[in-house]
């Protein structure tokens, strides 16, 4: 309990990090819908995209299927009921014609953000003036886009209703590269590596998760194979090297063609922060954790079992969110299930920590999902009704009702008043 943690911290019996870890785990595992802070206006449609800026963790952008974009100020006072305010926004149909599929902040400062839309465009916005800076015509519906959090190359990777991945360059404001090897009709999820600026992962309707090195001519490094399961190093070296040769030879080899990552459309991806593991989900209602330590061709599927609650049947890109790196060990995975719940798993063990139920009676699906920066323990989710919900840790004690507690000794007060009255009479 906190008191003994505080005692051991101040006396030096334990490292202060012990209190921190225990407290953060407690908070993440008691997430509830905030009773104090709420978003007053709703999108008239599904809230697909949420993004919190990386610089101050202060501004959140929401984008919905109503094609509206709103910027919220997350600084809020506690104590009283707090309405989050929209500080700026782009009205419906002004910026994008159709719904927004994804929004990302420029990783290095919050003067710019990028939005992808079903109107077949990706747009770059100046946050200050709220003006469109660039517009990229993709030609098909944009399902997802991503910008590398570390790279200096300013490439936005775009997953659209097209088997090829488009890389668009913000510097030259033109399309830079096409990465083709996906065999299905669409690419549904895309994520840059958090550690390697040239590495990209994508998931498509062909049921594969592919890793790309954009510097290579045959950019596709590998296809993650769900059959390559973790077994303690038995493969002989000869077999190993042949496998490697096979997989890197060409993406069109038959061995490559059969490989599947999911037995369905891959529609969600997230890298673990060390860039050595990745989580994917697909319409086969599975979540898989992949070990990406080179070579990628063996021992990739770690067979973590996430249990029977995972529901994922829609093709749309799912926002998989991880808790910030140093907040919890192992990291937590927030999975918006089709039932409307957000499932909280320990990502490396698959253990279900908590089930965040959005509502009991109606089937509201959670679409947009974002975790505010490290140590905030605030999860924002946008659902199919257009609401944005803040999830925060349960409070240690609820605030008693102001008025009542101030008057909690009524008998004495009455006596005092009588006495006062008597005094007055004496005058």
């Amino acid at each position: 309990m906190l008191s003994s943690y505080l005692f051991t911290r101040e006396s030096g019996l334990t490292n202060p990090r012990e209190l921190r870890s225990a407290q953060l785990l407690r908070q993440y595992s008691t997430l509830v819908i905030s009773d104090k802070r709420y978003f007053p206006t709703r999108h008239s449609g599904i809230v697909n995209a949420l993004a919190v800026d990386h610089v101050a963790n202060r501004y959140m952008i929401s984008g919905g299927s109503d094609s509206r974009i709103s910027i919220w100020d997350l600084y809020s006072r506690e104590g009283l009921r707090h309405r989050y305010e929209i500080v700026a926004g782009i009205p419906a149909k002004k910026g994008h014609k159709y719904g927004i599929s994804g929004i990302s902040w420029w990783p290095f400062d919050n003067g710019m953000f990028i939005s992808g839309s079903f109107d077949e465009t990706i747009k770059v916005w100046d946050t200050e003036a709220l003006e469109e800076v660039y517009k990229f015509e993709i030609g098909t519906r944009v399902n997802a886009h991503d910008i590398s959090p570390i790279a200096e190359h300013c490439l936005v990777a775009c997953a659209a209703d097209h088997p090829a991945i488009r890389l668009i360059d913000l510097r030259s404001s033109g399309a830079a590269q096409m990465l083709s090897s996906h065999e299905g009709m669409t690419v549904n999820a895309i994520k840059w590596s958090p550690t390697n600026p040239f590495m990209l992962a994508s998931g498509g309707s062909d049921g594969t998760v592919r890793l790309w090195d954009i510097r290579r001519s045959d950019a596709c490094l590998t296809v993650l194979n769900l059959e390559n399961t973790i077994g303690k190093g038995v493969a002989s070296i000869n077999l190993d090297s042949s496998l490697r040769a096979e997989s890197f030879s060409s993406s069109s080899t038959p061995a490559f063609g059969k490989v599947k990552s999911h037995r369905g459309v891959v529609n969600g991806l997230v890298w673990l922060d060390n860039g050595k593991k990745m989580v994917s989900t697909g319409t086969d209602e599975m979540i898989r954790v992949w070990d990406l330590t080179a070579p990628f061709t063996r021992d990739t599927n770690t067979l973590v079992n996430f249990g029977p609650l995972v529901r994922n049947r829609y093709l749309q890109c799912i926002n998989l969110v991880l808790s910030p790196l140093r907040d919890c060990v192992p990291q937590l995975l927030f999975f918006p299930s089709d039932t409307g719940d957000i499932l909280v798993f320990q990502v490396l063990t698959g253990q279900l920590i908590r089930r965040l139920a959005v509502s009991l009676n109606t089937r509201k699906r959670t679409c947009g999902l974002v975790c505010r920066g490290s140590e905030y323990v605030e999860l924002f989710s946008g659902n199919s009704d257009g609401d944005i919900i803040l999830w925060e840790a349960e409070h240690y004690a609820q605030m008693p009702h102001e008025r009542n507690s101030a008057m909690n000794q009524p008998t004495k007060n009455i006596l005092t008043e009588i006495y006062k009255g008597l005094e007055l009479e004496n005058y």
Binding site: S11, G12, Q23, A56, T127, A129, L130, A397
Partner: protein
């Protein structure tokens, strides 16, 4: 612009090694404090500090190893930032051999425990546990190449002695490990490949032991099957390797000692023998290399000896059985180190680190030498005294828990001690180390040899009558005078013959000047004698004379029944004037002295209640009685006795002080010695090495006479009240109440279940006697969390906040206890009120109580009920802190709330008039929005406040009417949303537990325009106290540039940069350098540089900035800063 300097350096010692660092075969004890490495020479029966190396980093581990290429051992040091380096001792210095920077890993989460570093017994590798789910393996020998053939050719090559420990740290490898919560790791002895045993805890709080071998490539761990043990003792916390004679290892549990034999032995089954527990072992040391005897220390500070019986089986030995025996008591150990020949050293976090001797006779454990320690300081308060500030601190823990008065003052370093002389009431010294000591009934003349402490009596010297006490002695030129109760005797000092003698009745006090001898005869008669002992003048006063002092032309006399002193001209004894009526009872001691830098002589009057008055005398005072610049100072609580020193005055009240002149002002400073009963300046002594012997004192305390030299530098002096339980918080009541209130926590071990029983108490300590006068026990399971005192409804109360701990859950119930301290200094509970949560913090704001009840900060009023006369407790407004409000600070009507996790919020208490009368409400003035784990907060003034953060950082907040964020001004913010902005930040490197602002600006006595204005003190869990100050605007650039220039000149151990050491750093955010913060301890290193280096620093060599000052100017500034302490 902020400045921080240590008043007391961190004194907790967590690591110690005994090694032949300096020369082959010569062992030294090396201690690692948080930011320094101290090398102690082991002498026959004591330790002496030989070398101290400051380290720009928080040291988390210290290891030693002996490379085959070197004749002496080296050290390996690991810092909090995961930088490891090796040190060797060369030419009187510790030299950095190699720095290993590849230990730091950005993407791995830090462990929740302290770092663990272990060394393979054959020095093949170092293993670190600094990250969760990973071990760092640093090979010290070249790993066998991956070439298969060579490995095949020499199987087990790594195990034989063909390796060379060159002292190189080879590139580190990460060894993934499944276990998340590792409690203890050791390397095993007598194994082929480096093998570790791991004690770990799983998610269900069960503890297990596993043994791993590092594989041949040195890049993975392979579990040694069949040698671990699942579900070991719940309280097991320590593994202990057995020496190579038998190998294997011990697991120390609470009730059970388990021996794990080596895997290759015949019977590898763990062997368990229970002992009479529960004992929570926390440290061990091996006494002899064969492994027959071990020292074990437990958390209560008991020391045990483990005797192992070995079975000799052909050429191998195996452990047969063992027994544990309690042999005595020590400090609470963090490590035990056996130094050989019966001596062992206990490093301690909670108690002083101590050298002990294992004696064959009772008592078996004998204290030999104590290295003082203040850690952990959990709370402190400041008490203003004239020119100095006392820090009263809760320090130490458990059985070493204590309350301490820490006072910085002038130091008197003891040069020599002469023991065995008791009851000295007066001391005089003369040439050739002759000391005259007066006792209540007699006088002794001795010739001392201070070097050896031997003294020899000189009967008949100056014809002093031995069976009478001496009142006064003096020597002017070749003439000496000796005054006792019945006579005044003058002697020729060249041959010691009596010149003349004046017989009298009842001399009580006397004063001697070069011209005259003034005595008080028959209690009331004032007589002035010439040196020929003829009466010059006489005056009978109306009361008994208590004290006299005189100059050439002026005599000042104090009477027992008067609250003033009278001035008489000399030699004719005309009364010139009186002083005004003085506060503090009658005059007990008088001295006239000239002080440095003050032209006029000054008259000091020491009063009966500890007050000191002073007047400036003018040359004409003897004529017109003019007294100017009256000053009053409270020195203590006992009558003041004054002694003249050269250009200064030594005053003794309840504790001693020095009065000297500095920058034309009278400066009073505490002296860090026990109150002497008599004191004299040494005239001429052989003891002082330097020619200037004017600083040498001789003084008598209860049972000895000490020669000491005055160290003009301020040092710290600590007075201790042992409580034998952990003091957690304290509050200081007004002088009228005269007590210190504190809450304590007492832990006991239930002898049956082994569970900890915790009892909390409220105690009051008499602030002048410094002893506990009353204690109030809290209920079972009730934890005392906070204490404050203040005037509520016109009466001073002591308020305690508690919480009820039930089944390890968070507090759902707590009490506020209001005590009145009676005139007899007893606690009387006048009010108690239950609240829905633990009360983590309390403070008083304008006569109202503010309490932090779990996450809610509430304002309460305490008022007297007009009908019943009892106290009423009313909850008023509340404010909800994001997670848990754990600390509060107030300033006028502001309240600063420190949250456990979501930083700080500044509130203002506002009065609202409503129909029901006056009501209060909290208005949130400003807030810092980013998460920060606060340990304490303090408001300095309306704009500025300081906060300290759990991972050892200090930040300065400033309130600003901000409009938007600086780096994103895209949004028009409304101006009603002010932010707290961090304007400076620095890493302290230790967890800061408490900050207290300095309310009275009393330290700026000397300089009109100080470089740094002290504003607050802060204290850490490692026992350090720091002074925080504000740098005056004109010196900001100089100091900042000096700091950066200096970092380019000063060589640091392990090439650690001061800028990265002092840069704010926690799990969320790491900065590159301190922000608008100057580290005073670092700046002071300037004074220790050579002239050339000083010049380079000032000119900004190695890419610094030219300061455009001379070396002298910079030295002056730094010396001024040094005086801040």
């Amino acid at each position: 612009m902020s400045y921080a300097v240590s008043i007391h350096k961190p004194s907790s010692v967590r690591h110690a090694v005994c090694t032949d660092l300096i020369a082959p075969g010569v062992y030294s004890l090396v201690l690692a404090r948080p930011a320094s490495i101290d090398v102690y020479a082991i002498q026959s029966s004591s330790l002496s500090l030989q070398y101290s190396l400051p380290v720009n980093g928080t040291i988390t581990s210290l290891l030693t190893f002996k490379p085959t290429v070197s004749s002496t051992s080296w050290l390996f040091v690991l810092t909090e930032d995961c930088i490891g380096f090796t040190l060797s001792y060369k030419d009187g210095h510790l030299v950095t051999e190699q720095v290993s920077t590849d230990l730091d890993e950005r993407f791995l989460p830090d462990t929740d425990t302290e770092h663990i570093a272990i060394m393979d017994p054959q020095f093949r590798a170092i293993l670190l546990h600094t990250y969760k789910s990973s071990l760092t393996y640093i090979p010290l020998v070249q790993a066998p190449t991956s070439n298969k053939k060579r490995v095949l050719k020499s199987p087990g090559a790594a195990g034989t002695n063909c390796f060379q420990v060159t002292g190189t740290l080879y590139p580190a490898r990460r060894l993934p490990i499944e276990e998340l919560i590792i409690i203890s790791i050791i390397f095993l002895e007598n194994v082929e490949r480096p093998t570790i045993a791991v004690l770990y805890r799983d998610g269900q709080h069960a503890r297990h032991v596993k043994v791993y071998e590092v594989n041949a490539m040195g890049n993975a761990l392979e579990e040694v099957k069949g040698s671990g043990l699942r579900n070991v003792d719940q309280g097991a916390s320590l593994l202990m390797p057995f020496p190579p004679s038998a190998g294997g290892f011990f697991l120390l549990g609470e009730q059970l000692l388990t021996y794990f034999p080596p895997t290759n032995s015949k019977d590898p089954k763990p062997k368990k023998i229970p002992f009479n527990g529960p004992i929570n072992f926390c440290a061990w040391a091996c006494i002899d290399e064969s492994g027959k005897r071990f020292l074990l220390g437990d958390e209560l500070g008991q020391i045990y000896i483990l005797q192992v019986r070995l079975a000799c089986d052909s050429d191998t030995q195996s452990v047969l059985d063992w027994k544990i025996e309690n042999i005595g008591e020590t400090s609470i150990p963090t490590t035990l180190t056996y130094l050989g020949s019966g001596f062992f050293f206990v490093t301690s976090h909670f108690s002083p680190s101590t050298l002990f001797y294992l004696s064959p006779e009772e008592p078996h454990v004998q204290t030999v030498q104590v290295i003082p320690n203040l850690a952990p300081i959990t709370d402190f308060q400041l008490v203003d005294r004239e020119n100095t500030i006392d820090i009263i601190a809760c320090s130490g823990g458990f059985k070493s828990g204590s309350l301490r008065i820490i006072r910085s003052g002038i130091g008197v370093d003891a040069l020599a001690e002469i023991a065995g002389i008791q009851g000295v009431t007066g001391l005089w010294t003369f040439d050739n180390d002759i000391v005259v000591a007066s006792f209540v009934e007699n006088t002794m003349v001795v010739k001392c040899d201070p070097e050896s402490g031997i003294f020899e009596e000189l009967p008949g010297w100056w014809h002093i009558v031995p069976n009478e006490p001496t009142i006064e002695m003096a020597q002017y030129g070749a003439k000496g005078v000796h005054i006792n109760r019945s006579s005044v005797t003058t002697v020729d000092t060249t041959n010691g013959e009596i010149i003349s003698r004046y017989q009298s009745q009842q001399i009580s006090v006397a004063a001697v000047t070069a011209q005259a001898i003034i005595i008080a005869n028959s209690l009331t008669e004032l007589v002035v004698l010439s040196w020929d002992l003829t009466i010059i003048s006489k005056l009978t006063l109306h009361d008994e004379i208590s004290c006299i002092t005189a100059t050439e032309d002026l005599c000042v006399v104090g009477l027992w029944n008067e609250v003033r002193a009278s001035l008489y001209s000399l030699p004719d004894l005309n009364r010139v004037s009186y002083t005004e009526d003085l506060s503090g009872g009658n005059v007990r001691s008088l001295k006239i002295s000239t002080l440095d830098s003050i032209q006029e002589p000054i008259l000091f009057l020491g009063m009966a209640d500890g007050t000191l008055h002073s007047y400036h005398l003018s040359p004409s005072t003897a004529m017109d009685g003019e007294l100017t610049e009256h000053k009053i100072t409270l020195l203590g609580t006992q009558p003041v006795t004054l002694y003249s020193l050269k250009n200064s005055i030594f005053a003794v009240s309840s504790h001693p002080s020095m009065i000297f002149g500095h920058a034309k002002k009278i400066t009073i400073s505490s002296v860090n010695v026990q109150s002497p009963t008599a004191l004299a300046m040494c005239k001429d002594t052989s003891i002082a090495d330097d020619a200037d012997s004017s600083n040498v004192l001789i003084f008598a305390t209860d049972d000895m006479i000490t020669y000491g030299v005055i160290d003009q530098l301020m040092s710290t002096h600590v007075q201790t009240l042992e409580l034998k339980e952990t003091a957690r918080r304290l509050t200081i009541m007004t002088p009228a109440a005269g007590v210190i209130g504190l809450i304590t926590l007492k832990t006991e071990l239930d002898s049956y279940s082994g569970d900890e029983i915790i009892n909390c108490f409220v105690k009051i300590v008499d602030s002048s006697l410094f002893e506990v006068v009353d204690s109030f026990a809290l209920e079972e399971n009730e934890m005392a969390e906070s204490i404050t005192s203040g005037f509520f409804d016109g009466t001073e109360y002591l308020v305690v906040g508690t919480g009820f701990a039930a089944d390890r859950e968070e507090y759902t119930k707590g009490r506020i206890l209001v005590f009145e301290v009676t005139n007899e200094k007893r606690l009387s509970l006048v009010l108690q009120n239950e609240l829905h949560g633990g009360i983590y913090a309390l403070c008083e704001v304008k006569g109202n109580l503010v309490c932090a009840v779990n996450a809610i900060v509430r304002l309460c009023t305490i008022s007297t009920n007009l009908v019943t006369g009892s106290l009423d407790f009313n909850l008023q407004c509340g404010f909800r802190s994001p997670v848990m409000a754990i600390t509060l600070s107030t300033y006028e009507n502001y309240v600063l709330v420190g949250d456990l996790m979501k930083s700080v919020a500044l509130l203002q208490v506002r009065k609202v008039s409503s129909t029901d009368g006056v009501e209060y409400m909290f208005h949130e003035v400003a807030r810092y929005y980013e998460p920060m784990w606060m340990t304490d907060v303090e408001i300095l003034d309306e704009k500025t406040s300081i906060g300290t953060e759990a991972e050892g950082n200090i930040v300065v907040f400033q309130r600003e009417e901000m409009t938007g964020m600086k780096n994103s001004s895209f949004i028009q913010k409304n101006d009603e949303d002010p932010l707290l902005e961090i304007i400076s930040s620095m890493r302290v490197g230790e967890v800061v537990n408490r900050i207290r602002r300095i309310t009275k600006q009393s330290t700026d006595i000397s300089v009109a325009d100080p470089v740094v204005t002290p504003q607050a003190y802060y204290a850490t869990r490692d026992g350090a106290i720091y002074l925080y100050g504000q740098i005056s605007s004109q010196h900001i650039n100089n100091l900042i540039n000096l700091q950066s220039n200096l970092s380019k000149i000063v060589k640091s151990a392990g090439e650690l940069k001061i800028s990265s050491y002092r840069a704010f750093s926690n799990q969320r955010r790491k900065l590159l350098e301190p922000v608008r913060f100057v580290d005073g301890d670092f700046i002071e290193q300037f004074l220790e540089l050579s002239q050339l280096e000083k010049e380079q620093t000032v000119l900004g060599a190695n890419g610094g900035i030219n300061l455009n000052l001379t070396v002298g100017q910079v030295t002056g500034i730094v010396e001024d800063l040094k005086r801040l302490r």
